[in-house]
Symmetry: C2
Subunit: 332 residues, 2 copies
């Protein structure tokens, strides 16, 4: 068993017993899973219900994650703790009272936007970025109060910087890479990463091919050297993994992610008309059994063991411990 924690802060797989077993084979202590892209509150509750069924069916493989201490409990009992998040604020609809309700149900991360303008902020695909809205500021305060982390992975620059500065607790970019390594629209510019990390926030490195330099052909060395340089620039303690693994999903799912119900036209997002589906994963990261490759790659860059343990999970563990509990409370 790895001495430190192994935590992946973003996955959206087509969940199955096979994948739960792979999580165990890979020694993954905790994952943050997306349970809403465009779902309204009631639809999101159906997704919580589906996970309750899996927890009941596979009690030896997975358990519900609510607090950082659940990661220790999962580790001690040979299971993976599953933490929930939303990539859109659609689950809270226009009702700020739902922020505490979804936290009670187990939500721990919520993106203020998913690509488009939301009620709260601006997404990274809009041409105009107006920053946090009136409701956005109220909701960030309420998220701070109850312990629901602001995630700006799919948000536009100004909105992200404003959220980092306005939020009383650190925020996260759970899954993206630096824009200067790979200039994808979803990757983050220096000033954005700086605003997030200078306020105590976290960046999780993605292995989703559209976020990688040379996409599916990206080398492990290129990826790990990018991580080492990012650590030098912003501080290793602010970095973790957020693979964005979408294992076993049919291409229809990437269409749902991109199009939801907001348009009648096809939007290819990071893809294109000639490549509308999920891209192939790099050969060094196919599924949850491959985290050892990233760990070895980091070691090859010359990072020390403490730094590597932080990136592989220790930093997320600390962040979870500090940011999931209600303000002023402690849940161990």
């Amino acid at each position: 068993m790895r001495s430190g924690f192994l935590i992946d802060c973003l996955q959206y797989a087509n969940w199955s017993e096979k994948i739960f077993c792979q999580l165990r084979e890979g020694g993954v202590d905790a994952i943050h899973v997306t349970i809403a892209y465009h779902e309204n509150f009631r639809e999101t509750v159906l997704n919580f219900e589906q996970w309750n069924r899996w927890f009941e069916q596979y009690p030896d493989l997975i358990m519900k994650g609510l607090w950082a201490s659940d990661i220790e409990r999962a580790r001690e009992t040979g299971r993976t703790a599953v933490f929930f998040g939303f990539q859109n604020p659609s689950p809270i609809e226009d009702d700020i009272g739902l922020v505490e309700i979804v936290h009670t149900l187990g939500a721990r991360f919520m993106q203020l936007t998913y690509n488009n303008q939301s009620l709260l902020a601006t997404g990274c695909y809009e041409s105009e970025d107006t920053g946090l809205t009136r409701m956005g500021k109220q909701v960030v305060k309420e998220m701070n109060r109850v312990g629901l982390v602001v995630d700006m992975s799919h948000s536009a620059d100004r909105s992200t910087i404003e959220a980092a500065e306005f939020s009383e607790r650190p925020i996260a970019i759970t899954h993206a890479n630096p824009h200067d390594w790979s200039p994808a629209l979803r990757n983050k510019r220096d000033k954005v990463i700086r605003a997030v990390t200078e306020h105590g926030g976290m960046l999780g490195f993605s292995v989703y091919p559209h976020h990688l330099k040379d996409k599916s052909a990206c080398t492990l060395t290129s990826f790990c050297e990018m991580i080492a340089r990012t650590a030098d620039t912003y501080g290793v303690e602010h970095l973790g993994i957020g693979t964005d693994l979408c294992q076993d999903q049919p291409d229809s799912i990437v269409e749902w992610m991109r199009v939801g119900r907001w348009t009648k036209q096809i939007d290819y997002g990071e893809g294109s008309a000639s490549a509308p589906g999920f891209p192939d994963m790099p050969d060094w990261f196919k599924d949850n059994r491959d985290f050892g490759n990233i760990e070895a790659g980091l070691r090859a860059t010359g990072m020390n063991e403490t730094e590597i343990a932080g990136i592989m999970g220790g930093n997320w563990h600390r962040f979870f411990a500090e940011n999931f509990t209600p303000m002023g409370a402690s849940h161990g």
Copy 2:
């Protein structure tokens, strides 16, 4: 401070700071409050949200109750623990997955019916009682699994007896009196109370005037002697208080309780065309400051202090401790 616990297992007041202060003046350690009569899931969530606001506004008077141990915590900090329940299964709609969801949100009691036939069982105002339905049996099993107590206060006889026998955990009649003391449709016949108590269940005595002998004119002595006789017959450990206090509610609320959205006609329920509103409370129980009257009345019947402490709260405390946690789990 009273040496034992003071717990009222059913109230539906028009909540306000005034009533929260009266709970403290009366030394009430815990209450079970109704948060749904006919509400669907989303509407019930709005009621959870309203209580979250009250917990945030009045942190020195009230706190959310989830486990029996919260009653001790409330007592130690001079507050009243508020436990939630539904008088109808309408909040779970036709979706068994919502049983665990509402338990996670804090629901601890759910009636299988409110007067009428439901998807689960038959209410006490129907002319035909067909017992537990197919879905009813599945839902009782699921309620047993997660720790949501079956409450049959408004159910018909056969349905109640079947629920008591089918349920793997004890069930409750949170608010009703024996039919042979006051033959109201809502009061419970001997065979019903026997089925519930012989399976470890509880009966909470109501002071709602329509459930009292001589209604609003019922004497404290008559009420307390009825309790003493009930203890002799079924065992004092199965008895508690469930006042059904509807303090400060306008008469429009009793109409909502009776009519909901299921009919376009007025149904007077336990009232009548000439007395359609809330009846006057007996002079010895007007609000939460009056539990001492009941306690003194029980003492006057010759019951001993241990028996009285059990009825005033000790028995509900034990029942909460044994029945709110998921099967096989413990939450202290």
